[in-house]
Chain length 345, copies 4
């Protein structure tokens, strides 16, 4: 028996990736996909990889019909205005935007600069990272997506926080390097290839909005995210600098990271002593849902460097969303997410 | 029932891609993979995308045991020296190297500069491009791989030649642009990233060895391949310039290209009048087995430009090899080759 | 004694490159630079390489004052409407746009799709490629710029045409590969880094407007330019396929190419038999005014492949414009154009 | 009057860049350049940008004759074995390798893993960063080069340390992103374009040898350098995270950074509130000797982020070396270093 799903907002990068995953998903039947700017076009005219896969055309959001599960993949700030209407259409909703990621309306207002339009709904959503909320997701009706940079940060921190290995009072510095798909299909003033190629551009030293998700999910007070754009299309690498608690030893870290990998089907530890691929790297994750973790620990100073690589459109967006859907529907957690990634690429 | 397969030569790019496809193939069970230079290493240490997919280690070629189907993915010039031995191990063989692509030993000697070591075997192999030899492949035991540049050229020419639309006596100029994975995992003097990034390097104006495969398969006398390296990892674009026969009209070309797409599951026509993706482009084919075709025709002069984009490691190597295996074994031609490619990438 | 110059249209890529060259030019004093969209901004806010080089700010075109020489670097279609006004401001004008490149108003209308607004002025301009019009430039008051793709094509053809080595009746196929700076600072629908990175995109098979400049300057009737975008920012490579006249020998081509290099300070022949850099490559020309030429000749078939690499913003635009100015003013032809380019890059 | 100079080790990237600068230098005459691996080749066969600039060929190091100034551009560990011999050939020596950067033989042994071969010479060398040692360089005979990563780190720290704005006891975390030219012309196992393109590869979390130069020059005890390779050829960006002293205010930082820019001809502050280029970026520095500095300061937490962008082959190697030579010879500090860099690139 297949589940019927539709996507609100399918012409952006997150929506396109969702569509790719859902079209190939063994238990899902995609009904409708919306886009106002590409109304009436075949979805493959916008997402050329979908040619010969589907004859779906983009429809107007007003035409959406009831389905089992609805994915919202609009720009931030929209879903919160229509959530009642969407809830009337589908029993299960996954919203990829930032609208329902934070539990506290005050935290939302602080980081997003305006009051939340549907604060009562915040408590009804589960934060959509299975590595943090697997059990809750199994019974959830409403699930938020995740910020891609927050996800790389949270997963880099997960083994350390779960094993209680770092000083919560010490500052945690997260250096994040990102590709150009993060700026979305519309791009921005610096997205032109001639300006964006070969960059190392630290476009935000402090204050990235995804910081709020790290604070909320990791319970850490002093966290900063520093964002640097580099030359690739897909991928995020988070390098976390933290201070270990006194007495923490290298073997404790190994144990914590191995536990993360064994408990989570899409987490791997990459820490090799030879060859080209010794550390986590996002480029080999393009299209895959894996989060690759690595670490280095200077026992003498207690300085821990924890690294997480993901594909921002997969584990950092559409991949985690589908993984959540699988859990919500009682399907195999990895269904439709088996693509291994490519080498070389 | 699954088919047992092994790969001779699994640490190169073609072998790695084969391994990725075969590990995910629903009807196949990978037994052994060889590599002398990486003997004893886990395959995922060389191909990082295979981590958590398999615990296979590279073994010595001498340790290979009998299987249903054997893939040979060694450098050119090796398989022809061991073909008897390999044929004793497996009833079905697909050789990705250039050793058995040409039917005529004289043609082999002309283009490869030395006598063939097993000329009697040349006639027993079928050229492994399903779009050209689907029926023969269904009953073949021995199948050669295809040259990636030859494949892009042959598929760009296929609709034109099949519909008898071009002048066979006029020169056919094929301009090919290629990525860095074409030079193989070992690379060459110009493979260093600092020398290879941002290049437009016409490394061969005439005489590329794959020309022989275009001559053989298309039956065209005056064909030249001009090779230009550009900055991407995976991908080939062949731009063919040919002279149409008098009377050929635009609609004849449309018909010919549409026929190619309808007869072949992995051929698509890309010819849009708006949007970003109006023409075939290899970047959206990374990891997919599609060949995207397009054309422009100047009716007044008869100048035809035919374009084919492929992933050189897929349709140009491992993908076609698996497609051949599917045909040889009576499986669904597209089994294990469903990956759609990514957008953006 | 220095020459006073101003630039109309300085915020685009051509204008910025002109500014870089003129600020460093030993015989020139830059007075004013215009930009409506960046009015009042420091030029270094748009062109970050000019920081600490000048305190010039962009002014309105209406504020331009009389100078010795005026450069027009606006989008195509503008200069022809204001040429009288500009001629009143400066005795010497170099227009980088396409407005005054063609001598024949009918040819302009054919390729640009509208009537020329100042057809009487077409005959007063000299086509600004010193390799073709050095003597005329020395006495010219009005000089057009050159199309970057036309320049790569014309210089690739120059030795062959000048030595009368190719069949004028045979088709000449020019395959051009270009970087992203060609689309201008405003970019276009496909300029977003995520869509433009790693492309091999044949965006125009026939009919590129620069074809008209090749027809005009080379006197060849059957020329086609096929345009392919590849992943680099600066650079054009033109690969010309032509048919040699009967009897032409390899040594004739060597002689013709060497002559081009010895007669022109910015032309070099690149044809090495070993090392990485055996052929002309645009990447090592970034910022330099050189045109690197190479060729391969198949004596048996008469097929000539001629290659020219340039930096589209230098030899293909601002560099040639400054070279023309030097000639117009009786300065050393190479003044201000000495930058060698970088290796690696 | 010109100064005669020669280069020991001219086929690598540092040596090639030196050669480019010295060939164009108005006060210098290049005599000889050595390379064992390219003996007898024209220098332009290795460095294609030097074609038509010089007819110099690589000679054997044993053939080097006395000159005014000698540059050593060999791999690390060689100059220390021949320093006596070189000192007999030239009164002024600049060694670009790591051999004479550290003053303390024990520090050398700790970071380089072996005893120094000429410890008596360590005290005779001045560390070759003019921004730190301008006065000493004016009277120096022996000058070391600088580590490229150390230079980006030291210059990012310079304003903060000089104005005594940061806590010396708090850890200083330097996140460095680098291009592929850092691995040298020989490259390494991961240099193949197909493996190196699109990477974000944190190849060293702790312990990079250049750390020793930051410790020595900045007098900071707790410094770590974390190295991440990204996809560009030339360029380093250092992002320094430090803790400000209590009471430090944003205006104090502005004052410190502006002072650095006004005291040093090749230092600029980049901190804009609009446009594409708001922060220091290495890509626009390719070929230039500038160090661009920027900062962000969170007054509430005292967290300072200081950024420095350089071209690793220029300010991080050959450019600083020529700047030192200028000072040693009493020439204009900026002679031969005027190239502005390119935009776009």
């Amino acid at each position: 028996m297949t589940t019927s799903v539709s996507i609100i907002g399918g012409s952006g990068y997150g929506g396109g990736e969702l569509l790719r995953l859902l079209l190939a998903h063994p238990n899902v039947d995609v009904q409708q996909v919306t886009s106002r700017s590409h109304l009436g076009e075949y979805v493959y005219q916008v997402h050329p990889n979908l040619r010969k896969q589907t004859q779906l055309k983009f429809v107007d959001p007003a035409q959406i019909e009831p389905v089992d599960a609805l994915f919202l993949a609009q720009p931030h700030g929209q879903a919160q205005h229509n959530i009642e209407q969407y809830a009337a259409l589908a029993g299960k909703i996954v919203d990829l935007s930032a609208d329902f990621r934070l539990r506290d309306p005050a935290l939302y207002e602080k980081w997003y600069g305006e009051k939340h339009a549907a604060p009562d709904w915040l408590g009804r959503f589960v934060y959509g990272l299975p590595e943090l909320h697997r059990a809750e997701l199994a019974t959830a009706d409403y699930v938020s997506g995740v910020g891609c940079n927050a996800t790389a940060s949270n997963l880099a921190l997960l083994p350390l926080v779960k094993a209680d290995l770092i000083e919560p009072s010490a500052p945690v510095i997260v250096e994040i390097k990102v590709g150009s798909s993060e700026s979305g299909a519309e791009g921005n003033v610096g997205s032109h290839h001639a300006e964006r190629a070969s960059v190392i551009r630290t476009f935000s030293a402090f204050g990235h909005r995804h910081t709020a998700e790290v604070i909320q999910e990791m319970g850490l007070g002093r966290v900063s995210l520093t964002m640097t754009a580099v030359d690739l299309v897909r991928g995020v690498l988070a390098t976390v600098h933290a201070q270990a608690k006194p007495g923490a030893a290298n073997k404790d870290l190994w144990k914590a990271y191995r536990a993360a990998a064994s408990e989570n089907p899409f987490v791997r530890v990459v820490k090799e002593s030879r060859g080209v691929y010794r550390v986590p790297e996002p480029k080999v994750l393009a299209g895959s849902n894996y989060a690759d973790l690595g670490f280095e620990f200077d026992e003498s100073s207690g300085h821990v460097v924890s690294i997480c690589a993901i594909d921002n459109l997969m584990k950092g967006a559409a991949g985690s969303a589908v993984q959540c859907m699988n859990l919500m529907l009682g399907l195999d957690e990895t269904a439709g997410l088996e693509f291994m990634g490519l080498h070389p690429i």
